[in-house]
Subunit: 312 residues, 4 copies
Amino acid sequence: MAEQHGNVVGNMGDQKMNSENNYKFETIGLIGRYGDSTVGTLLNDLSAYLRNRKLNVLLDESTASILPDHKLKVADRHTLGEQCDLVIVLGGDGTLLNAVRSLSDYDIPVLGINRGRLGFLADIQPDEMEKYLDEIFEGKYITKERFLLHTTIEREGEQISESNAFNDVVVHKWDVARMIEVKIFIDNQYVNTMRSDGLIVSTPTGSTAYALSGGGPIINPSLNAIVLVPICPHTMSNRPIVIDGDSKIRIKVKNASQSQAQITCDGQINLGLVSGDYVLIGKKDKPVTLIHPANHDYYEILRAKLRWGERL
Amino acid sequence: MAEQHGNVVGNMGDQKMNSENNYKFETIGLIGRYGDSTVGTLLNDLSAYLRNRKLNVLLDESTASILPDHKLKVADRHTLGEQCDLVIVLGGDGTLLNAVRSLSDYDIPVLGINRGRLGFLADIQPDEMEKYLDEIFEGKYITKERFLLHTTIEREGEQISESNAFNDVVVHKWDVARMIEVKIFIDNQYVNTMRSDGLIVSTPTGSTAYALSGGGPIINPSLNAIVLVPICPHTMSNRPIVIDGDSKIRIKVKNASQSQAQITCDGQINLGLVSGDYVLIGKKDKPVTLIHPANHDYYEILRAKLRWGERL
Amino acid sequence: MAEQHGNVVGNMGDQKMNSENNYKFETIGLIGRYGDSTVGTLLNDLSAYLRNRKLNVLLDESTASILPDHKLKVADRHTLGEQCDLVIVLGGDGTLLNAVRSLSDYDIPVLGINRGRLGFLADIQPDEMEKYLDEIFEGKYITKERFLLHTTIEREGEQISESNAFNDVVVHKWDVARMIEVKIFIDNQYVNTMRSDGLIVSTPTGSTAYALSGGGPIINPSLNAIVLVPICPHTMSNRPIVIDGDSKIRIKVKNASQSQAQITCDGQINLGLVSGDYVLIGKKDKPVTLIHPANHDYYEILRAKLRWGERL
Amino acid sequence: MAEQHGNVVGNMGDQKMNSENNYKFETIGLIGRYGDSTVGTLLNDLSAYLRNRKLNVLLDESTASILPDHKLKVADRHTLGEQCDLVIVLGGDGTLLNAVRSLSDYDIPVLGINRGRLGFLADIQPDEMEKYLDEIFEGKYITKERFLLHTTIEREGEQISESNAFNDVVVHKWDVARMIEVKIFIDNQYVNTMRSDGLIVSTPTGSTAYALSGGGPIINPSLNAIVLVPICPHTMSNRPIVIDGDSKIRIKVKNASQSQAQITCDGQINLGLVSGDYVLIGKKDKPVTLIHPANHDYYEILRAKLRWGERL
């Protein structure tokens, strides 16, 4: 079964479709929500299902450590990336974000199964898991390519760090009540010098996360674009700017004092910035591929999550 | 001189550059601000300059009608489109918008000379006109391709009108204080049913116009994107959505009563809508080409127009 | 029973409480949703309940006209205002708004019974109607005083119209795509000249209605304040302004053309404005009194209506 | 001269006017911008002017320490508060904010002289200083009463700190990228549980400061109101709320981890919060009195600072 290639399932609107889904799913990696042992039952059901389909299953090391009775082969993240044809993530969007970031150097599609609450990324509910997995292993699914942001920090001419973000890179004030001042360049053109609580640089994927709280627009995930959203800017005309996804963004931190700004990737990875540091942000060369059921509908999820159509 | 082709002037960042500017400027059309006779002096200076360069000059009919002593050959808009290699517009962004719309079926670049106030589109000031025209006729300029929106209205299965917009197409309530209800589809996918004062569908060019007043983001004009901005939506989570520039947008007007909604293109062309009408909006097949001085800098204009960097 | 005076029910937080509710409810007026005959069953239940309590009941003329079998004494709005001690409105917030406006010259409290959907003003659901009416006629209720806006239009020195609004007075463009320009004065001090789609002048009651869609703040109804909310202003720093409830607002319409602006009260009453007209807005001298169940909680309604606390 | 009482200068619109200005200005305190020795020249001019008027002058201790050649009598903040009839602040709005806070327990009016840039609070420019001081010492001035916020923190039932704010009290996340969760009560009524980057509680004075960057309305300083502005709230309907100035606000910090939230008063005083802490905010019992020139016009300052009326 798993040898079958995916078939075309028609024009899916905004989704990127291969004319033929050429994935071959034989070895499946499983990643559960970090530190959450309640994922155990769902994981047992899933691994039973997969064994039944005669698929190889590898359980992520950190998930294994909190699930003593799993009886699955365990692998570290690197091995998952090397050996799996598909990684299934059990958890919410946050879990999927982390899984995608950690696997971003491997060419491996990711599928998300949510637990209870609908996610933008993990859109399969537990009670429909079997039905959709049947379809997916029979080749009925769609794939969506999404891009990550790759960020480096340059201090006194040297690159001091490097990280990836699937949602957003945020440069923000830290340990200080005052605004920070940043100087923004896009493709080496000076844009402006802005005083604010910070700046969110977001992918379309991240546009429905923190960037939305900051006043940014919703960006269809199929659009090759990046949005810059100022957080509580001092000047009211400092509005969100949407630019080409292939732009190179350079942010100079202009703080007088040290360590009053930080950079955060996907709300998780923090790095302190000092005055004069440059933050360089651009699209990561390798995209990530998400697997969705064939009937996946981005706008339906949007309507559900943002409660559109419900009257006040 | 005018036979010279434009030369490459280096990497201009976000602007679209031909590796060689292959325009040959021999016949120049002139369009002045509609109904504004004060444009006469500037127009005389400009036509003297152009005659001096041995270029053919054609004056737009409607501009000619209010400038009795122009001594120029007069042509209607169609003839301008057929015979000119370049149209120079004297006026503000509004004048240029109209000129671009009326010439949108011809393959002819447009250059804007502003009068006093800096424009997003017409970015040459009168006092620097000669200097920049010298450069442009010597081939030192950049070109920017921008797209228009093409809109048709379907009533009971038949197309009843067709129009173009360079900034935006707005579906809004009319002659009524109540909100209107519209149903939005993108690429045949249902997006949502929205109650609001209206919906702005804007090009990147229009993103700094009405769409910005409505809460939309700034979109870099080089991005192939369209933004949908709800006007005073009833549901607060009905936020601006940025989608691919090649999307097909379909809006169904759901008013109970007749003639309580209208569609406006670039704030100029109005058409009444009745319940059940479909408004179809997509990118016009033919882009427009704007000519800018070689040192044109989009972000510099943005900083100037939005007063970025000025402290409160 | 009905002779009993209301008793104090403790400190109700933001609500205005009389130390003793001194209303005597003997004659009750009933007003149903305009043109809506489905209100008939509820109205029959209510009138049976009231007759049972030996109260006099007067049915509003316009409601009576669509309910042929009501068997109640009918009265016009003026007679309701003159003879009733309490008016009960069956319908939503819109119905209550209209009832309050039409009774605003009489000193008569109003109670709203909603039909299905919770309202900001009409907060009693049909299935809890009897329970709450029992309490209210036994004197257990709270009263809230709210103010209306009184608006006059002055043309060439003469007052040409006069109207009241419970939610808001809106000066907006009409039959035109372009912005209008208005000059705003507060207590004879010049505030600014604003280009926009219009200006909403709202009471605290109206702050959760159209003003909220326009970007205004929520204002606790107990606050003596008025908010001015610009609709899609041209200048981004034209933000909502909250001023004292006793301020006198004067708006000069600066349109070049005639009849391109209108004034709307509570989204219902429309009057055309011409260039040079002055719109004068201030608090109406007579407040309106709303009757609520003793457990009325403004913030609970706010949470329910705005879906606070629900996760994305 | 200084013995003269101020005279009525007519109805000044929104300003609070005593029917007779009953201040007697004999001993004048001077406070300069903290740590800024460039204020020296202006301070010398001012002290010469005041000696000329035979007034006693006391120089603030911290200002004296950076101005070696001042030859003035020096006093600490407490002595200034005890002995002065008027304190003149040389600096911007920030300097005046600090001065007002430090003198908030004394009944002493404050006058601000700005240095170059117009302030909302310090509205006298150096070049018009003498002219306005002449008028003020002749009794031609207006006074404006403004209120401060008084904040206490309760930890496990005990009050652990107390502070004042003239602009705003901000509860915000600290040292953490994730949102914080706060539970808000107003006058002991539960309002909502909000996830956000923080909450700004602002006076009308502060409504044109950080609260405006966060999306809050402008509040006329004469209004007795407080505004709560959520910072980047997770739920889009969590909008600014304007409440009565005499309300008691209670905020419960619901963080899981310790020290991931802080409270900041006027962007200056920081205190760490732990999970379970209560922040109590209310109007300080003693208002502050600002002295302004007789022609002071709040809306004129607003127009200048927010660049209203300037075209895009």
